[in-house]
Each structure stands twice: as C-alpha cells, then as structure tokens.
C-alpha cells in the first residue's frame, strides 16, 4: 500500500496549482502560462487519482487510504479522508473532467483568465475533498464551498441572464444545505461523533430519523435535482460557460446522489424506508415531466439540462430501490451521466464557439461540414439514450432490473422515460446534424480541431468502455454497496 498521504495530495494539488497561478501576473503574453499551469495541475491530479484506482483493494468494503488528524480540540471533528468503492469513481470523475474543462476553455475564455483558472482549481479541490471526506463537518464545508467558485463561474463568464442564474443557483442550494447543517449538528448531539463511517449504524430514534431525513433531503434533492426543486438547473446550465455546465452536470449533480447513498441510506435507514414511496413518485414525475419539457426546448443546452433532470430521476429510483442491481445501476448511471452529459455540453460548446448561438433552429445539416463532429456527437447522443454498448444502457438496465423487484409501476414509469429520452435526443440530433445546410452562415463551419479531439475522444472511449466492460467499474464498488444494503436491511428488519 501507499504510505504517503495520497488522498490529501490529490485534494490539495489543484489548490497548490491555484496558489502558483495567483503569483503569475496576468497579461496578454502570460495568460498562456496560466492556462498551462492550470492544465498541468489538473492533469497531475488526474494521474495521481488513477493510482487510487490501480492500488484499490477490491475486497475491502470500507474506507481505504485513510488519513485522520485531530482538527478541533473541543469536539470530535477530524480531518478524516479516505476512499471507498462509492467515492472512488466520483473522485475519478472529478479529476477526469476538470482537465477537459480547462482544455475546453482554452480559447473561448478571453477575459480574466487568471480568475477563471483559480475558480476551476479551487472547485476541483472542494469537489474531490467533498467526495473523500469521512467526517460530516468536513463534508459539509466542502459541500458548501463548492458554491463560491460556481457562483463566480456562472456570474462572470456566463451568458446574458448570468446574474439571475448565479443568484438562483447560489441561494437555492444554500437554502438546502443550511438545513443539512442543522441536521448534522443534531446528529452530533445525539451520537457525539462526526464520522460518516461510525454513523453508518442505526443510531437515531424513528422520529429523529424522519426529521433528519427531511433536512438532508432538502439539501440533496436541490442538488441532484429532483422535481420540483430542479428549476435552478436549466437557468444555471444555460447561462454557465461550457466548462461550467460540464462540471455542473458532470460532478455537482452527483453530489446529491452521493449524499443520498451515504446519508439517507447509510445513516437513516428506517426513515428512508418510510419515504421511499415519496421518492419514487417524485422520480417518475421528474422522468416523464422533464422529458416532455425537454422535447419542447429550442435551446440545445436547455434541452440537455432537462434531460439531466430525467436521468437523475433514474438515479434516484435506483438508489431508493436499495437492492444490489438498483444501487449499482444508480452508480453506473451517475458515472455515465457524468461522462455523457459533460460530453454533450462540450459538443454544444464546440458549435457555440463557432456560431455563438445555441438555438436548434439555427443549425441543420452539420454532417455535411463536420463529419467527425457528427460521429462523436452520435456516440454521446446514443449514450444518453441508453443504447446497448454505451454506458447509459448499463445504468438504465440495472435500475430497471432492480425495479422489477420493487414495483412494476416504477418500471413502467422509468421505461417510459427512457423511450421519451430516445425521442428527444434523436429528434435533437436529426435537427442539428442531418439534412442539408439551409443556413448560409453554416456554409464554412470547420470540423473539430485537434484540441477538441483531445477533449472529446477520451470521453467517447470511456463511454464505450463503460458500456462494454461495466465490471471494470462495478467490481470496486460492489462490496461497499453491499455493506450499505446489509446495514439497511438489518436496520429495517428489527
């Protein structure tokens, strides 16, 4: 095993990169240095996080690479980080997407490059830190600190309604997470412990659990987002710059799912059992409703944003089935959605950089001019639809298999949503890519360049890899998920 603090290095490497960038003076010539510094820091982080995966002990369901230091003298708060099967891929997703984001912003961010890169590096640190923390207070600090860079990214480099979107994003998510703070303190008061690992038992009375569950729900349902708490998402996605949308869809939404697995399932099993019908209803409404809404969108980014809500509906169904297939499916669906929706936003970014519009009407017949683009877009579009062989299929399939054990109504709802997702994605693809070029402005649009290939091809490979060898991803997480399910069943059997 590794005897140096690998997880902490991964968490704080981007921050160190940010500190270095802080001391580079920004002007026309040096902005390229800033970009390279940011790229190197994030790539270094990604490579280090691969070590996590390579050295990961598949037979250990609990935390690995643990580091624990006393942090507060008066309370049992620790700086306690580690990785288990659930957080491993969330961390990998963050470290994988951030360098791609830096690359995607290479040319289209022209103003305030320094602040931009600082925000992204800080964001990466807090994202990884959040997934890696085993102490709830540490988790909370990272969870809320995410708001700061994201607020700036949307507000400074966003579109026309960026101010509205950034405030909505910030206040909406803050409202959810402050209630979680109260819940965390109540948990601490009852158990005198802040360790996520310790609290995975069943320590709270039934009524306390219900209260705590609602407080956590407020926070995670906004974050993931579930219908009807999703309204911040389309605004934030549409107004954010491409890289901002990528991180938002790719990682930040997963914070909600991750939180549900860790806190609701892990710590509050009896309350979860009580609230499962609520979650299922909301999820099915979300899937069907947002799919229909997506169908009616005229803005590409907004369409993908609504499709995210629908996909996260599948995730919440999977999580709250609380069986092996459901949870594995939810995890795979989260990873898959992280890759696919990130890639779709990057694809939108490609044509947005060239034409500066996201109206579907504007485009048409891109395949004539951009064959390579049409190909990669197709891979991601099919990934989003859930075609066998892509990552989306594995997730949706597992969730539906799991749902059969629960209720066939849920299966019908989820399946209906999957059909609708095929409808709106294929319809979108048809309108943008196929046909002949009717808009003269598109006549000399260029196909994707080397930089964009470097961004999109790794994503395409990983989408297909996940679709063909899901076990590569399922094996490390299996035992950790089993542990949660066992705990859950023990608690509810009483």
């Amino acid at each position: 095993m590794i005897d140096w603090p690998l997880v902490s290095v991964i968490i704080f490497l981007p921050l160190i990169g940010a500190l270095i960038i802080l001391f580079i003076k920004e002007d026309e010539l040096t902005s390229i240095n800033i970009k390279w510094a940011a790229l190197l820091a994030t790539l270094g982080t990604f490579i280090l996080s691969l070590i996590l995966w390579l050295q990961f002990d598949y037979s250990n369901p609990s935390y690995q690479y643990e580091e624990k230091f006393r942090w507060f003298d008066d309370f049992n708060f620790f700086y306690h980080v580690g990785v288990d099967g659930i957080s491993l891929f969330m961390i990998l997703l963050s470290t994988f997407l951030t360098p791609l984001c830096i690359l995607a912003s290479w040319n289209n961010i022209k103003k305030r490059v320094k602040e931009y890169m600082l925000s992204f590096l800080f964001l990466e640190t807090v994202m990884i830190g959040m997934f890696a923390s085993i102490d709830i207070l540490l988790f909370y600090i990272f969870f809320e600190a995410v708001l700061i860079p994201m607020y700036l990214i949307i507000g400074i480099w966003g579109g026309n309604r960026r101010i509205y979107a950034s405030f909505k994003f910030f206040l909406y998510t803050l409202l959810g997470s402050v209630l979680m703070l109260i819940a965390i303190i109540v948990m601490y008061r009852n158990t005198s412990s802040m360790s996520i690992e310790f609290l995975q038992g069943n320590y709270f009375s039934y009524n306390t659990q219900l209260f705590l569950w609602l407080a956590f729900f407020a926070s995670f349902a906004v974050k993931i987002p579930m219908w009807p708490f999703h309204t911040w998402l389309p605004d934030a996605h549409v107004e954010a710059p491409t890289a901002g949308s990528v991180i938002l869809a790719g990682v930040l939404l997963k914070m909600g799912g991750y939180g549900f697995i860790r806190f609701s399932l892990g710590m509050l099993p009896e309350a979860t059992e009580f609230f499962i019908p609520l979650i299922m209803t909301l999820s099915i409404v979300a899937i069907v409703y947002t799919s229909l809404v997506a169908l009616a969108q005229t803005d590409i980014k907004k369409l993908i944003a609504y499709s995210s809500v629908a996909h996260m509906g599948i995730v919440t169904i999977g999580i709250f089935l609380v069986n092996q297939q459901g949870l594995e499916g939810a995890m795979i669906q989260m990873i898959s959605h992280g890759l696919v929706s990130a890639a779709l936003f990057l694809c939108v970014g490609v044509i947005y950089d060239r034409m500066h519009t996201r109206e579907i009407e504007f485009y048409g017949g891109l395949v004539q001019r951009m064959p390579l683009y049409a190909t990669v877009f197709m891979i991601f579009m099919l990934g989003s639809v859930g075609l066998p062989g892509t990552s989306g299929f594995i997730g949706e399939f597992l969730v539906i298999v799991g749902a059969f054990k629960f209720s066939s109504y849920v299966v019908i709802g989820a399946a209906f949503g999957i059909i609708l997702s095929a409808v709106y994605m294929l319809y979108l693809y048809k309108r943008i890519i196929f046909g002949t070029i009717t808009n003269n402005k598109l006549a000399d649009i260029l196909d994707i360049n080397t930089r964009e290939k470097i961004i999109l091809i790794p994503l395409a490979i990983s989408v297909i890899l996940l679709g063909i060898f899901p076990n590569l991803f399922l094996d490390p997480m299996r035992l950790s998920l089993e542990l949660i399910i066992t705990n859950y069943e023990i608690a509810n059997a009483k």
Binding site: D73, G155, I156, F170, I182
Partner: protein, 478 residues
C-alpha cells in the same frame, strides 16, 4: 492585598484612565502633527493595557471587588475590545488626515470610550454598570458629531444622543426598580436575594424588561435598532468603523453577564425577550439590508443581523453558548476590521466610497482588493471555509444543545436571506461591466495594511488551526 500604593496603577482600567489624561495633555501641548502623535500614543497605551489585562494585573483596591468582577470571560472580551479599538484607531488615521479632521481629541475620545467599555464588561454592580455605559456613550456621542461643519455628522450625533439618553433613562428606571425590590445593587446580592423566590414579582419583571430594553438599544437589537443605520450613515466613515467594531463587543458582553449572573435562575423570564430580539434582529437585518445603496447603512443592517445570531447563543445560555458568543464576537470584530480597513482606503473620484454601486469594476482595477472584499462578504454570509461560518456553526451547536430547533432553523433561513446582499456586493464588483475604469483609488498606509493582512489571514486560515481560539473560548467562565 495591596502592599504598595503604586500597584493601583497596574489595574488596567486605572492605567487606561490615567494614560488617557496623559494623551489629552500630550496632544494639547504638541504644536504640529498633534493628531498623528496622539493616535500613536493612544495605540501604545492600549497595547500596554492589553498586556496588563493579559497578565491579570488586579488588586483589591477600596471597593473595587464589589463594583467590578473578574473572570476569564471578562478578560477575553476586554482584550477583544482593546484590539478592536487599536485596529480602528490605526485604520482610521489616514482617513481623518484625508478629510482634514485633525482634532487630537479623537483618539482620546476613543480611549475614554474604550475605558467605558472595559468597565461595562467588568461591571458587577448596577451603579458601576450605569456609569460605565454613560462613560462610553458620552464619548461616542461626541465622536459621532465630531465633524462639526457637516450637517449629517451633527445630525447623527444629536440623534444618537437623544435616543441614547432616552435608553439610558429607561435603563436607569429599570435599575431603580430592581434596586427597589431587591434592596441591592450588587449582582451577587441580587442573585442571592432572588434565589429565595420561585417567581419574579411584578416590579422586578418590569425592572428586568426596562433593563433589557436599554441593553437592546446598546447592542442595537430590533426593535431598538433605529439609530444604528442613521448614525452609521451620518458619522464620518472612520467613526462608523469604530461604532461597528468596538461598542458592540462591550454591549454583548454586558447583556450576557447581566442575564446570566444576577438572573440566572429566571431563564424563562428573560429568554423570551432575548428570543424575540434575536429572531427580529436576524430577519430585519437580513431583509432591510437588501435595499440599501449606501455601504455604511448596509453594514449597519448587517451588524444588526449579526447581533441576532449572538443573541441565539444567549438564549441557549449554556457553556456552549458562552463559547459560541466569544467565537462569534471574535469573528465579527475581525471581519469588521477588515472591511473597514478597506473602506477607509477606497476613494472614488477623490471622495471616500459610500455608494455600493461605485464598487463597479473594482475587480478589474484592483483585483486583490476586490478579492479581499469578496472573502470578507462570504465570511460574513457564513459560507465555509471562512471564519464567519465557524461563528455561526458554534452558535447553532449551542442552540441545538438546548433543543432550540425552531430558533436554529429560523436562524439558518435568515442567513440564506442575508447571503443575498453579501452576494450582491460581489456581483457589483465582478459581474457588472463598468465603463469608467480606474476611477477607484486604493491607498493604504503601511500600518493599516498590516492590520488588513492580519485580519484577512485570520479569516482565511482560521480553518487550518481552529483550536487556538476554540480552546481559549472553551475555557471561559462568566
């Protein structure tokens, strides 16, 4: 025991009182640079006083023990107030010279007011409490009106004086009722007398309520907050800085000690009042600040909101509450020092900054300054990882320890509302495009720069080593 008569000069308050007179004379006999020299001397005096407080120099002189008490809580707040007043003298020096307000009396007024605050914090007797409050208020009335030729400054001084005098009257009436019904002025004696009874009689309840009203006025808790925005707005910026930073510390310590020491057994009676004050302050502070365009009024409402959170910790009334209040007060002082250090050095078109909208474009012309303001604002809003979050966090821990669930949920909701106006400042600096760049001028003296960097360092780095402050505040006894 008092072996040597000279030892009384090492009682911090007596030392400060004597030194203040020395400062006054010193300024009087200086021909030039009187203001600057007196300020420097005042800072020096305050530093010495901190040392005296830190080394616990006290002697039993005459009736001292029955008038003033002595505990770690008191010393902590005294040191906090002294630091606040040092910081505000240093950061306001250049501002006073800039607006050509060079009366050497200003630092002396600050000294006297600080003396009043130290006595307030320590007072253990209704009479000494009243005199201490008057000493600090009178100095502040004059300070608010110090810019004689400015109508707004005079107005704020008069307004502050009239309302302050009214509240002092109410306070005094409350004292007289308490004295009349318990027959004692000393906190211990009152507490002893009250311990014989299960309920407060009507006269004592009236007395308690009147005193609460007077104290609520001093900490500017809603609904007795009306003077705060107006006085903040009218007074010269540096005086506003002093108002925001220091007197609140003393008033909060006083309201804590008054509630917890003599009326410890009548928690239900006073906690209802504090509960109401707390909720009202949090929400009014949050909502009223949204519409402000003047940064000083905004900070006034923000301070009202902060007082609401500190009062939550008082409602909790346990050891955690005392700890939370001291941590919160510390973070409040640091954040206000930092923001005023910046405000007192920012000039827009050669005028000191007043309108929030003038901050537009600051992020381009002065990226470091705007980053600092953003950090302070986020910290005030209670967003981790900055110190303001930990202040709120400890307050909520104390509240939940006492099972005050509703109060804590209301508290976090108010903090979400207040996040809006803090974010608005960041929005103006970063998101709004400005056409006229470079009209904002940031000039800061070396000393203020040190103060500013230190307080920013504390705001940012508190998270890495919280135990230093937390261990101190955990050991405080009231």
């Amino acid at each position: 025991m008092l072996n040597n008569i000279y030892n009384i000069f090492f009682i911090p308050e007596i030392f400060l009182a004597c030194s203040s007179f020395v400062c006054l004379l010193f300024g009087l006999f200086l021909k030039k640079n009187a203001f600057r020299q007196t300020s420097n001397l005042a800072v020096f005096v305050l530093l010495l006083t901190i040392l005296l407080v830190y080394y616990d120099s006290e002697s039993n002189f005459a009736n001292y023990k029955s008038l003033f008490s002595h505990s770690s809580f008191i010393n902590f707040f005294k040191i906090l107030a002294l630091f606040g007043s040092i910081a505000s003298i240093i950061i306001s020096k250049d501002y006073f010279l800039g607006i050509k307000l060079k009366n050497f009396e200003i630092p002396v007024l600050f000294l006297f007011s600080t003396l009043g605050m130290m006595l307030m914090i320590a007072s253990h007797n209704l009479m000494s409490m009243y005199l201490a409050i008057e000493l600090q208020s009178l100095s502040l009335y004059v300070a608010a009106a110090i810019k004689r030729d400015s109508i707004s400054s005079a107005e704020s001084g008069v307004k502050y004086f009239i309302l302050g005098a009214l509240s002092s009257g109410i306070l005094l009436y409350g004292f007289s009722l308490i004295y009349g019904f318990t027959g004692s002025m000393n906190f211990d004696d009152i507490s002893f007398y009250l311990s014989k009874y299960d309920n407060l009689n009507l006269g004592l309840i009236f007395g308690l309520v009147f005193v609460m009203v007077g104290l609520a006025f001093k900490v500017s808790a809603v609904p007795f907050h009306m003077w705060t925005p107006d006085v903040y707005e009218g007074a010269p910026n540096s005086i506003t800085g002093f108002f925001a930073i220091v007197p609140k510390i003393a008033a909060v310590a006083l309201i804590y000690r008054f509630c917890i020491v003599p009326f410890e057994n009548f928690y239900l009676e006073w906690s209802q009042i504090i509960l109401f004050l707390s909720i009202a302050s949090m929400f009014l502070g949050a909502v009223a600040a949204i519409a402000q365009s003047n940064i000083k009024r905004l900070l006034a409402y923000s301070s009202i909101g902060h007082i609401g959170y500190i009062l939550i910790a008082l409602v909790a009334a346990n050891d955690d509450g005392i700890k939370a209040a001291s941590i919160y007060m510390f973070s409040y002082m640091i954040m206000n020092v930092a923001i005023f250090a910046i405000l007192l050095s920012l000039k827009v078109k050669n005028e000191y900054l007043i309108n929030i909208s003038d901050l537009k474009g600051l992020s381009k012309s002065n990226p470091i300054v705007s980053l600092s303001i953003s950090i302070i604002m986020l910290s005030m809003a209670g967003i981790p990882p900055f110190i303001g979050f930990f202040g709120k966090f400890y307050v909520f821990i104390a509240a939940i320890e006492q099972e005050l669930y509703v109060l804590s949920i209301l508290g976090v909701l108010a903090s979400v509302i207040s996040a809006f106006y803090y974010l608005r400042i960041i929005k103006i600096m970063y998101f709004d495009e400005s056409k006229s760049e470079g009209i904002i001028n940031f000039q800061i003296s070396f000393q203020s720069k040190i103060i500013l960097s230190l307080s920013l360092f504390v705001i940012i780095c508190f998270i890495f080593y919280p135990s230093l402050l937390i261990n101190i505040s955990a050991s405080l006894t009231i």
